[in-house]
Amino acid sequence: MTIEPFKNWLEERLSLSALAQAAKKKEVPLHRQSIWYYFGGMTLFLFVVQVVTGILLLLYYRPSAENAFESVQFIMTEVKFGWLIRSIHSWSANLMILTLFIHMFSVYFMRAYNRPRELTWVTGVVLLLLSITFGFSGYLLPWNTVSFFATKVGTDIAGVVPVVGKTALRFLRGGDEVTGATLTRFFGFHVAVLPAMATVFLGIHVLLVQLHGMHVPARYEQNYRRMKFFPNFLMRDLIGWILAIGVLAALAALFPWELGVKADAFAPAPAGIKPEWYFLFMFQTLKYIPARVLVFDGEVIGILFFMLAGAVLFIIPFINRSPEKFPHQRMIFTALGVVAVLYIVVMTIIGYLA
C-alpha cells in the first residue's frame, strides 16, 4: 500500500505543494545583525512551552483560595514530574518575557517597524502587554504570601489611576480586597481570556511577518546575502529551541520554583514585598517619586508617565516615519531607546538589590 493516494487526497484539498513551494522560496536576509531574527522564534517557542506545561498544570490545579496552594503543593510533591512541569512553566514564563524584551528592542533599534511593518509592531506591543498580564495573573495562582501581597500592591497601583482607577481595582479584585474572588478571576484571565487574545494577536503577528518577510536594516540593504528559511534558518531555530529545553531543564532541576507559605489575608505583609523582575523598574521608579509633585500626587504622576510611555510605544512607527529623510529624528529615537534600556536595566538591578 502506498501513501500516494492519501497525499493526492490532501493535495487536492489543501494545496500542500503550493505551501511547500512557498516555503522553499522563503528566504531570510543574512548580515551582521541576523542573530536578532532568532529572538522572535525563541519567544514563540517559549510561548508554546507555556501552553503545553500550562495545560498539564491545569489537570491538577484547583482555582480557589481554599485549594489553590494545596493543589500546587500536591503538584510539587506528589504528582510524578509535577515539580518539573511547574518549574519549567515558571522559568519559561520569565525567559519568555526576557526574549520578548530583547526581540522588541532589536526591532526598535533596527527600525524594523517602518513601512510596511507598522501593524506587525503594533500587534507585537499588544503581545508584550498580554505577556506581562499573563505574568501578573499567573503570579497569584499559587496563592502564597508573596504572590498575595504582590497582587495587593499591584492592584493598589492600578486603583490610583485617575477616573477609572477605582473601577479598575474592583474589576481586577472582584471586590474591594484581594480574596478568593480575585484568584478565580485571575485564573479566568490566565487560562481563557489572555490565551484567546494572545492566539488572535500571535496569529496576526506571525502572518504579517510571513507576508512582509524579514526587515533588512538600511546599512545592509545594498550588501547582504540570503539564507533559505527552510531548512537552513528553521534548523538553526531548532538548535536554539533544543538548547532552550536544556536550559529550562537545568533551571528546573537546580532551582525548582519555590512554593512559599500559604497566603493569609489576616497576616501582616512580609517585609520587602517585590513584584516580578519585569515590573521592578516601574515599582522602583514609583518609590523614588516624591509623595507630592507640585499639587499632584506623585504616584499618580508616575503611573500616568508609564501609561504615556506605553501609548508612545504603540505609535512609534507612525511618529518615526522617514528616518532617511530626517537623520536627526533617527538619532533622537536611537538615543531614547538606549536611555530606555539603560533605565530599565539600572532600575531593575536597584530594585532587585533594594
Binding site: T77, P231, M235, R236, I242, L243, A249, A253, L254, E258
Partner: protein, 419 residues
C-alpha cells in the same frame, strides 16, 4: 403649637438643663476647699482624691466620713449630728469600707459585676484574723488599695493592677523588721521576680500570668497549706494537677508531708521547667528522693529517655528537612506534620506528672512515628534531589547530542547546497 412657641419652649428647656448642669458641677465641697489649702498629711486627701474612682462616680468625702460639705464653717461641716465620723480607726477600716461594699443593692448601681464579700473574705485572711486580735500592723483595705487616690483594679496606675500587685505586697512583706514579729521570710518578692511567672507577667506583659494574689487570694490572703498547694497550682495547670493526684506520688508526698507541686518546682522562685528536672542525672529533682535500684529511679530514667529520644528524632527530622529545603525541595508538608511530633513532646512533658512511663509512651510512641515519617520524607526528598540531578545530566547529554545532530545535518545540507 405654633413654630414661635416651640422655639421658646426649646430655648427654655436648654436653659433649665444648662442651669441644672452648672449647679451640679459646682456642688460645694467645703472639705476639699479647706483641706487643699493645708500643707502636709492633713492636706494630702484633698490633693489625691482627684484621681479617686469614688469621686469620679459622684461620691465625695462626706459619703465615707459623713458631715455636711455644703457648710463653710468647720464646726458646722463636721457636725456629728450630721453623721460626721472623722478618721476611722485602723481596726474599723474593713467595716468602714464594707458599709457600701457589702451592700449588693448599692454596689449594683456602680458595677453589677463587683463582688460584695470582700469584708467577709478579709475576715478569713491572716491579715483579718490578726486584726481581730488587735494587731494593727497588718494590712487592711487601704494598705493595698490606697486611701484617697483609690483607682479601679483595671487602671494600670492602681496599686492592685496585676503588674503592681507584687510591689504592693512587698511594701510590707519585703520589710524584714516589720515581718520579724510574724516570723515569716521577706525574700518572696525577690524570688518571685526570678520566676517564670514574673517573666511572663513583666517581660511578656501577660496579665493572665499569676502574681501574689492569684495563688494566695486577695482579700482572703493566706499561705496555702500543704494540702491545698496542688489546688492552687491546678487552677491553671489543671492537667498536671489531675495527673499528679492519680499518681503514686500523691500518697507518698502526703505520707512524707511534702508540698505537692512546690517540692519539685519551688514556690516563689518557680523556674522555667526543663527536662533536666526529670531523670536520674545530677540536677534532676527525682534523685533527691529516689536512689539507684528503686522503681521510681528506673521510671524517672525511662521517662527522661522517652522524651530525649523523641527530641533527638525531631532534631534529626528538622535537620534533614532543612537540608532538603535549602536545596530547593518542597518539604513544607512534612515540616507541618512535624509540628504534631513537637506537640507530642509538650504533651509528654505534662504526662510525666503521672509518674508512669507507660502513660508517657502513649504519646511518645505515636509522636516518634510521626517524626520517623517526616525523617523519611527528608530522606526521600534528598534522594529525589539526587535523582533530579542525575536525570538532568542524562537529559542534558541527550539534549546536547540532539542539538549537535541537528547542527551536523544542517552543515551537511549547506555543504550540498549551491553557493
Amino acid at each position: 403649637m405654633d413654630y414661635q412657641n416651640a422655639k421658646i419652649l426649646l430655648l427654655a428647656t436648654l436653659l433649665i438643663s444648662f442651669g441644672a448642669l452648672t449647679t451640679n458641677a459646682q456642688q460645694k465641697s467645703s472639705c476639699i476647699e479647706c483641706h487643699i489649702k493645708l500643707e502636709g498629711k492633713i492636706g494630702d486627701p484633698a490633693r489625691s482624691i482627684k484621681d479617686d474612682i469614688h469621686l469620679s462616680r459622684g461620691l465625695s468625702c462626706n459619703d465615707c466620713h459623713g458631715g455636711d460639705p455644703t457648710q463653710g464653717d468647720k464646726t458646722a461641716a463636721k457636725d456629728p449630728r450630721k453623721g460626721y465620723l472623722g478618721r476611722p480607726r485602723m481596726a474599723d477600716i474593713p467595716a468602714f469600707c464594707g458599709k457600701c461594699h457589702n451592700d449588693a443593692s448599692f454596689m449594683k448601681k456602680f458595677n453589677p459585676a463587683l463582688r460584695v464579700d470582700q469584708e467577709k473574705e478579709y475576715a478569713t485572711s491572716v491579715h483579718g484574723k490578726l486584726l481581730k486580735t488587735g494587731n494593727e500592723k497588718v494590712a487592711t483595705c487601704i494598705s493595698c488599695h490606697g486611701v484617697h487616690g483609690i483607682r479601679a483594679v483595671n487602671d494600670a496606675l492602681s496599686s492592685v493592677y496585676p503588674l503592681n500587685v507584687a510591689e504592693t505586697c512587698a511594701k510590707c512583706h519585703g520589710q524584714a523588721e516589720r515581718m520579724a514579729e510574724f516570723k515569716i521570710p521577706t525574700d518572696q518578692y525577690m524570688k518571685y521576680k526570678k520566676s517564670v511567672h514574673a517573666k511572663a507577667l513583666y517581660d511578656r506583659q501577660d496579665l493572665s500570668a499569676p502574681t501574689c494574689n492569684d495563688c494566695h487570694g486577695n482579700h482572703g490572703a493566706a499561705p496555702p497549706g500543704l494540702a491545698s498547694v496542688a489546688n492552687v497550682c491546678g487552677q491553671c495547670h489543671a492537667r498536671q494537677g489531675e495527673l499528679f493526684q492519680a499518681s503514686v506520688h500523691k500518697a507518698a508526698f502526703d505520707n512524707k508531708g511534702l508540698g505537692e507541686c512546690i517540692t519539685c518546682h519551688n514556690n516563689h522562685e518557680i523556674k522555667k521547667p526543663t527536662d533536666a528536672l526529670l531523670g536520674t542525672a545530677e540536677g534532676s529533682v527525682c534523685v533527691s528522693c529516689h536512689k539507684q535500684g528503686d522503681k521510681g529511679f528506673a521510671a524517672a530514667g525511662e521517662m527522661r529517655s522517652q522524651i530525649d529520644g523523641l527530641l533527638q528524632r525531631i532534631e534529626n527530622s528538622n535537620r534533614i528537612l532543612d537540608r532538603a529545603e535549602r536545596a530547593g525541595m518542597e518539604v513544607s508538608k512534612p515540616k507541618f506534620d512535624l509540628r504534631e511530633a513537637i506537640d507530642g513532646v509538650t504533651h509528654a512533658r505534662v504526662l510525666i506528672h503521672s509518674s508512669s512511663p507507660a502513660e508517657v509512651d502513649k504519646v511518645v510512641a505515636p509522636a516518634t512515628g510521626i517524626a520517623a515519617k517526616t525523617y523519611q520524607a527528608g530522606v526521600d526528598a534528598l534522594a529525589e534531589l539526587n535523582f533530579r540531578r542525575k536525570g538532568l545530566v542524562v537529559s542534558l547529554f541527550f539534549i546536547l547530542f540532539l542539538a549537535v545532530l541537528v547542527y551536523l545535518k544542517l552543515k551537511d545540507i549547506e555543504r550540498r547546497q549551491p553557493a
